[in-house]
Symmetry: C2
Subunit: 382 residues, 2 copies
C-alpha cells in the first residue's frame, strides 16, 4: 500500500490524496461502507461498483467466528469469497470483542472471550489479530487495541493506552511489511496528553497508516473535533489518517477539515434499514404517513438509482409492508449520499474552496446531530 | 391485448405463442414471478430485466388493502408505482380473501371480510374486483371467482362453480373490452363434468384469456394433470390459457404438454428465501453444513449472476448469518432457473422436439414433487 498526498487545503487541514492498494486506487478523503459479515447489508458488489465504491470495511470478529477465517482463506480470501475486487480494510476485532462477546477477560497477553453466537471460548492476542486478518487476505489490517468506555477515568485510559502501545508493537513485529498495510491506532480518550503520547509512540513504532480510535462514543462533537485536530497534527503527513466508526455527514466534513482521510460508520446503512434517509436538506423519515401520496423522489437533487426510479410513496409502502426491497433501495440511496458527499469534498479540496463548500453544505443540512450523540454501536453493522 | 398462436407441438398439446400487451410482448409458455405487494420480494426491476422477465403477477387483495388502489391510481398506476415498464397481471383478490382475511361471509353479491392487517371491513364483488384492477392499471385482469377447498364435496363444488359463472358474467359486463384484458376462470374441483360445464359456460361468456383455478391445492399431480388435459381441450385455441398458482418445474413441463401457456407460483421466490435452490439436477438446500467449504456455484451449468460470482460456501454463510443479500442472490438464481426453463421449453416447441426435451429434463430432475403435494399457499408471496 502506498499513500500519496496530492493537496493540502490552505484554509483548513483538509487533505486530498490517493491510497494505492493491491486492489486498486482509493481516492481520499474516503468513506468506507461497513460490510460486517462479508456483505454490505442488502447490497451486492454491482451496487457498490455503481457508486464507485473503492474500499469496504469488514469486521474481523464476526468473520473469525462465522464462517471462520480459515475457511475464507481456503476459499481464496475475503475478496473472492464475497465477490469484491476492490480494497478491503478489516478492524482488529478488539472493539467487537469488548462490545459483543460474553465473559471478556483482558490481560497483558490479550483478551479471552466467549462467542456471542455459541458461547465457544477464544483468545484474541495482537499476534492472533494479525494472523486472522492476514488469513482473510485484506488490503489494510488494523492493530489490536483496547477502546475503553468514554466514561473511564484518567488512570484507566492511561494504563489502557500504554497496553495498546505494547500491543501495537507486538502487531508490528508480527507483520512488519507495508503489503498488506498495517495501521496503528491512537487511543487516550479525551485527554490531550494521553492522545499526544499515544500518537507519538504509535508513530515511533511506525505504521503504514494511523487511526484515531475511541471517538464518537459519547464524548460529544466539540470534544471529538478538538481531539481530532490535536491528534492529526502529531501524525506524519505522508500516511493516511483514519477516524474509526465516525460519523454523521457533519462529522465527516468537520473531521476532513481537521486532516482526516478515511472514515467508516454504520449510519448510512443502518439508518437506511430504519427508514431514515439522508438528503442535502437533512434527514427524512420515510415511514411517515406524510409520504403516502408523495410522488417526489427522496431527494430531487440525488442521482442514485432509488431517486431516479422510485417515489417516496413507493419507498414508504415498501417500508410499511416490511418488504426487503425497501431496505435495499434505502441503502442504495444513503450510501450514494455518503459517497457523493465525499466526492464533492475531494473536488472542493482540489478546487481550493473546501471551507466555503463545507460551510454551504452544513448550512443546508441544518442541525445534524453528531455521531457521538447518537448513542448507538457504530463500528459493526449487525 | 392480443394473443397469437405461433405453433402447436405435434406430439403433445404444447403451444408456442405471443401475447401482445400495452407493455410489450410476452412469449409463451411463460412463467410470471409473483410480486404480491408491488415487488418481487428482494428484487428490483433491473434484476427482472436482467432475466428478460416480460410479465409479473401482483395481488389485488394486498394492494387494495395497502397502500390502496386509489393511491396507486393517483400516483399513475401500478407500473409507475413500482417502476416496472413491462406487463402486469393481477388476480381478482378472491383467493386471498378466502385464505387470508378474517370473518369471511360469501353471498351471491360477493364476499364480505375483515382485513388481516387491521380488521377493517370490506366487501369484494365482481364489479369491485374489476374496478380495483382497472384502478391499478394492469394489463391483464382476472374475474372474481371462488376457489373452494380441494376437500369440498360435489354439491359444494357444483354450487360454487355456478356462482363463479354468474360472477364471471357480471365481471364481463363491468369490463367488456380486450384492453386491458379480462380473463375468466374455470373451476369445478376434480369433477370432470363440473370442469366441462365451467369451461363451456366461461367460454360462452367470452374472455380474452382463460384460467384454470382451484388446482395445485392438494389434489395430487395425476388428478391435476388429468383435469388440465381435459379442460384445455375445451378452451379456444386463439386465447391464452393460464394455470393459476402452479407449480414445480415438473408441473410446468407436464402442463405445457397439456396446452397451458401461462403460470405463476411463489415456489421459486419463497423457496429461495427458505434456502432451497433449484438446479438442473433437482433441489439443493443451501443451509447444509456440507456446503460450508464448497467453492462451486449452486449449479455449474447456470448463467445467472449468483452462479457466475458466488460459491455455495458464500451463499451458505449469508443464509446462516441471516444476511438479506443471501435471500436476494437465492431469488435471482431460482427465478433465473424458472425463466430459463420456460425459454428452453419455447425453443423446444419451436424446434419440434418438446416431448424429447421434456423427458430428458424431467429425468435429470429425478423425483421433483408436485406443487399440489407441497401443502403451502402458492398464490401470493408473503
Amino acid at each position: 500500500m502506498h499513500y500519496t498526498l496530492l493537496t493540502t487545503d490552505s484554509a483548513t487541514g483538509a487533505r486530498r490524496g490517493t491510497i494505492q492498494t493491491a486492489h486498486g486506487p482509493v481516492e481520499t478523503p474516503v468513506f468506507m461502507p461497513v460490510g460486517t459479515q462479508a456483505t454490505v447489508k442488502t447490497l451486492d458488489p454491482r451496487d457498490l461498483h455503481a457508486e464507485d465504491c473503492r474500499i469496504l470495511l469488514a469486521n474481523t470478529y464476526h468473520l473469525y467466528l462465522r464462517p471462520g477465517h480459515e475457511i475464507i482463506r481456503d476459499l481464496g480470501g475475503l475478496h473472492r469469497f464475497m465477490g469484491w475486487d476492490r480494497a478491503i480494510l478489516t478492524d482488529s476485532g478488539g472493539y467487537q470483542v469488548m462490545s459483543l462477546a460474553a465473559l471478556r477477560r483482558l490481560t497483558e497477553e490479550g483478551v479471552a472471550f466467549q462467542s456471542h453466537l455459541d458461547g465457544s471460548r477464544h483468545t484474541l492476542t495482537p499476534e492472533r489479530a494479525v494472523e486472522i486478518q492476514l488469513a482473510l487476505g485484506v488490503d489494510i489490517l488494523m492493530a489490536l487495541d483496547e477502546c475503553p468506555p468514554h466514561a473511564a477515568d484518567y488512570a484507566y485510559h492511561a494504563a489502557s493506552m500504554e497496553r495498546t502501545l505494547r500491543w501495537a508493537a507486538r502487531c508490528r513485529v508480527a507483520h512488519s511489511s507495508d503489503e498488506p498495510a498495517l495501521f496503528g491506532i491512537v487511543q487516550g480518550g479525551t485527554f490531550p496528553d494521553l492522545r499526544a503520547r499515544s500518537a507519538e509512540e504509535t508513530r515511533r513504532i511506525g505504521f503504514t497508516g494511523y487511526a484515531l480510535g475511541g471517538l464518537g462514543i459519547g464524548e460529544g462533537a466539540a470534544a471529538m473535533y478538538a481531539i481530532v485536530e490535536d491528534t492529526t497534527a502529531l501524525l506524519p503527513d505522508d500516511a493516511p489518517r483514519y477516524l474509526m466508526g465516525v460519523g454523521t455527514p457533519q462529522d465527516l466534513l468537520e473531521c476532513i477539515a481537521r486532516g482526516v482521510d478515511m472514515f467508516d460508520c454504520v449510519l448510512p446503512t443502518r439508518n437506511a434499514r430504519n427508514g431514515t434517509l439522508f438528503t442535502a436538506a437533512g434527514r427524512l423519515n420515510i415511514k411517515g404517513a406524510v409520504h403516502a401520496r408523495d410522488e417526489r423522489p427522496v431527494d430531487p437533487g440525488c442521482a442514485c438509482y432509488t431517486c431516479r426510479h422510485f417515489s417516496r410513496a413507493y419507498l414508504r409502502h415498501l417500508y410499511v409492508a416490511d418488504e426487503i426491497l425497501g431496505l435495499r433501495l434505502n441503502t442504495i440511496h444513503n450510501l450514494h449520499y455518503y459517497l457523493d458527499l465525499m466526492r464533492q469534498a475531494r473536488q472542493a479540496i482540489e478546487a481550493g474552496c473546501f471551507a466555503a463548500w463545507k460551510d454551504t453544505t452544513l448550512a443546508r443540512l441544518r442541525a445534524e446531530p453528531s455521531t457521538s450523540q447518537d448513542g448507538q454501536e457504530t463500528h459493526n453493522d449487525v
